[in-house]
């Protein structure tokens, strides 16, 4: 399987009047064709910055790609100019956001919006685009006769489906989904996730699913990357991440979730907070909060890639599991 997306040593910073915010530090990430990768992290970790960097949607200035390469389908897109990147956006790489309210234009019908997305990248007639638009709506579970309705006439879950339809209209090779179900109710979320699983089988789009919910990751993804303070601290297949957890942060996250299946009296939170992103830390970013922290962790940056299994990498001086198990 070839890599459709290869991110090498990506570093992004925001230069503001109040200081420089080091949003991403030395990110290495690979995405294979047709694979669903879960990107897990908390607020401020850099997940949205990473997604927007791939789409080149970052506001430049104050943001700046300081270093690194983003290679899409063999081509380096990091330094592409506006016109070239626009041909890719929406067409070969699509993105959906957390809030469906703001992603949809309130004065256009949903059918129109999908049609526009198609016409932007395809040289076909309006009628053809319209019928393709109706097809897409059906694929996401919205009946054709709702194509002439306006966004405000749909509920949250339906709006998100429309957004997904728009994103997949041009059959992109990569879909970036930034917390697509966080704003939805749990039962609606289940519907939308089931639909996304169906779409995955049909279109085989490589997906980066950004979320903070480890449950969604376990059910939807093949590979998982954990991001903390702008760095990827662990990446591996979903089984390894959950069962052979290597990084103390990942372990901390897994233990902090209240579960309906286990009976525990007291949760195990991770003490402290994510470090200040305006300060470049000397050692490991997680050292202040890590219960296994040692001197070496405080003063030295852990090596970027340390293999602890097949395709299982961790950024830690003292990984919790070592070599193949």
């Amino acid at each position: 399987m070839s890599n459709i997306l290869d991110i090498k040593e990506l570093s992004v910073a925001y230069h503001t009047e109040d200081g420089t915010v080091y949003a991403l530090n030395n990110i290495d990430l690979e995405l294979e064709d047709g694979e669903t990768l879960g990107l897990v992290g908390e607020t401020g970790a850099g997940k949205t910055t990473l997604a927007k960097s791939i789409m080149r949607l970052l506001p430049v200035p104050p943001a700046k790609i300081e270093y690194g390469d983003i290679i899409f389908s063999g081509e380096n897109i990091t330094d592409m100019d506006d016109e070239e990147i626009r041909a890719i956006r929406g067409n070969k790489i699509s993105m959906i956001f957390q809030d469906p309210m703001s992603a949809l234009n309130p004065v256009l019908t949903v059918g129109e919006q999908i049609k526009e997305a198609i016409l932007a990248h395809n040289n076909i007639s309006e009628d053809e685009a319209w019928s393709k638009s109706l097809e897409m709506l059906e694929t996401v579970g919205i009946t054709k006769n709702r194509a002439r309705d306006y966004p405000h006439q749909f509920s949250g879950g339906m709006k998100q489906r429309v957004v997904i339809a728009m994103a997949l209209a041009c059959n992109p090779q990569i879909l970036l989904a930034d917390e697509p179900t966080t704003a939805l109710d749990v039962t609606i979320q289940a519907q939308v996730l089931a639909m996304m699983r169906g779409l995955k089988e049909k279109f085989n789009t490589a997906t980066i699913l950004i979320t903070h919910d480890l449950g969604i990751v376990a059910q939807m993804c093949e590979k998982v990357a954990i991001i903390y303070a702008g760095e990827i601290v662990e990446v591996g297949n979903v089984h390894d991440i959950f069962k052979n957890t290597a990084h103390p942060y990942t372990k901390g996250l897994l233990e902090a979730i209240p579960s309906i299946y286990a009976d525990c009296k007291r949760l195990k939170p991770i003490d402290g907070l994510m470090p200040d992103p305006t300060i470049r830390h000397e050692g490991c970013a997680f050292s202040e909060r890590c219960i296994y922290c040692d001197d070496i962790c405080i003063h030295n940056q852990p090596p970027a890639v340390q293999s602890v299994g097949t395709d299982h990498k961790v950024r830690c001086w003292k990984p919790l599991c070592s070599t193949l198990s």
Binding site: V186, T187, A190, D213, L214, L273
Partner: protein, 320 residues
């Protein structure tokens, strides 16, 4: 079983809002009690009325009809000064740590506001006020150095601690917690939940814990009420509801939670359709349209409550 003292009793509580399209049934005929020192979890998705319920109990919204008994007396009938007194006993923690704090007040000012408003301390008694503020900040785990910080300088977890300190300032007996951890990150969520449990144990607090997250509610509640579109759907102890979820909606809700274990492929009960509008609802079960087990009779007449096991009630025709 020890004789539990009932702290709060809700009887036939209703809240309807007037809209141009008809009455919006936000809370429809709810009856339950909460014992002293316990936590009642109220679970439901958006539009089920759980937030409205919390606010009605605190009289931030005036209920349309029904009775609310706090420590035996009907709070809906009390006078203005009595209501002000009542506020020292019943408090609320809000969901959004960003909009629930006055951006122009420092941490200290926010925490001492209730003390000054209720006249517990005079404005000039700065020494006692500061001592009390310090005490409260310690109680909720806020470092002293934030005393003069503004909310916009702090993260969500710390802001929520300020909200908790503010709620505790008047030594209340009962606190409505309106989704207090929903807006927080997982690791911070765990910190705040542990804090709330500790406070409950140390101060003897009673909580009404409103949330949409079943895993959180299981962890913190003794008893649970499940709501759907303003009606109660299932009610019972936390243990019995999770062991024996009876109402189709409760079952759907439970199965919809993604399990954080890749080896378990859950079988979801995918509900049909969307939440319908709580405006101008007719008789019959409001969940029937989406229910995988609905029958014709479910749409027609009024619901009746069935006790499926001791203390565990379900509002569904299936059990009749």
């Amino acid at each position: 079983m020890a004789n539990k003292e009932i702290l709060l009793k809700i009887v036939n509580l209703k809240k309807y809002f007037d809209t141009p399209y008809g009455p919006l049934h936000a809370v429809d005929d709810l009856t339950f009690d909460i014992n002293k020192g316990e936590t009642l979890g109220v679970v439901g998705e958006s539009g089920c009325g759980k937030s409205t319920l919390g606010r009605c109990i605190l009289q931030l919204i005036k209920p349309t009809s029904g009775e609310i008994y706090f420590e035996g007396s009907d709070v809906l009938k009390c006078s203005r000064p009595e209501l002000k007194m009542l506020r020292t006993k019943m408090q609320i923690i809000f969901q959004d740590p960003y909009s629930s704090l006055n951006p122009r007040m420092t941490v200290a000012q926010a925490i001492q506001a209730p003390l000054l408003l209720q006249g517990l301390y005079s404005k000039h008694d700065t020494a006692s006020i500061n001592t009390r503020v310090d005490e409260l900040m310690d109680l909720v785990g806020l470092a002293k150095r934030f005393v003069n910080s503004y909310p916009h300088e702090l993260d969500g977890g710390r802001r929520q601690r300020i909200g908790i300190a503010r709620a505790l300032a008047l030594n209340p007996k009962f606190i409505v917690c309106d989704e207090p951890v929903s807006a927080l990150d997982v690791s911070i969520q765990a910190q705040i939940l542990n804090l709330m449990q500790d406070l409950q144990a140390d101060l003897g607090l009673t909580y009404l814990f409103i949330t949409h997250d079943l895993s959180v509610v299981k962890h913190i509640s003794d008893n649970i009420v499940v709501m759907y579109l303003g009606q109660f759907v299932e009610r019972g102890s936390s243990e019995s509801i999770f062991r024996n979820p009876s109402h189709p909606y409760t079952r759907a809700l439970l199965s919809a939670i993604p399990i954080p274990d890749p080896d378990i492929r859950q079988k979801e009960v995918i509900l049909k359709g969307e939440l319908c509008s709580p405006i101008n609802v007719g008789n019959g079960c409001r969940f029937a349209k989406r229910c995988p087990e609905a029958k014709d009779e479910c749409f027609a007449c009024d619901l009746s409550v069935v006790e499926v096991e001791h203390g565990h009630f379900v509002s569904c025709k299936k059990f009749m």
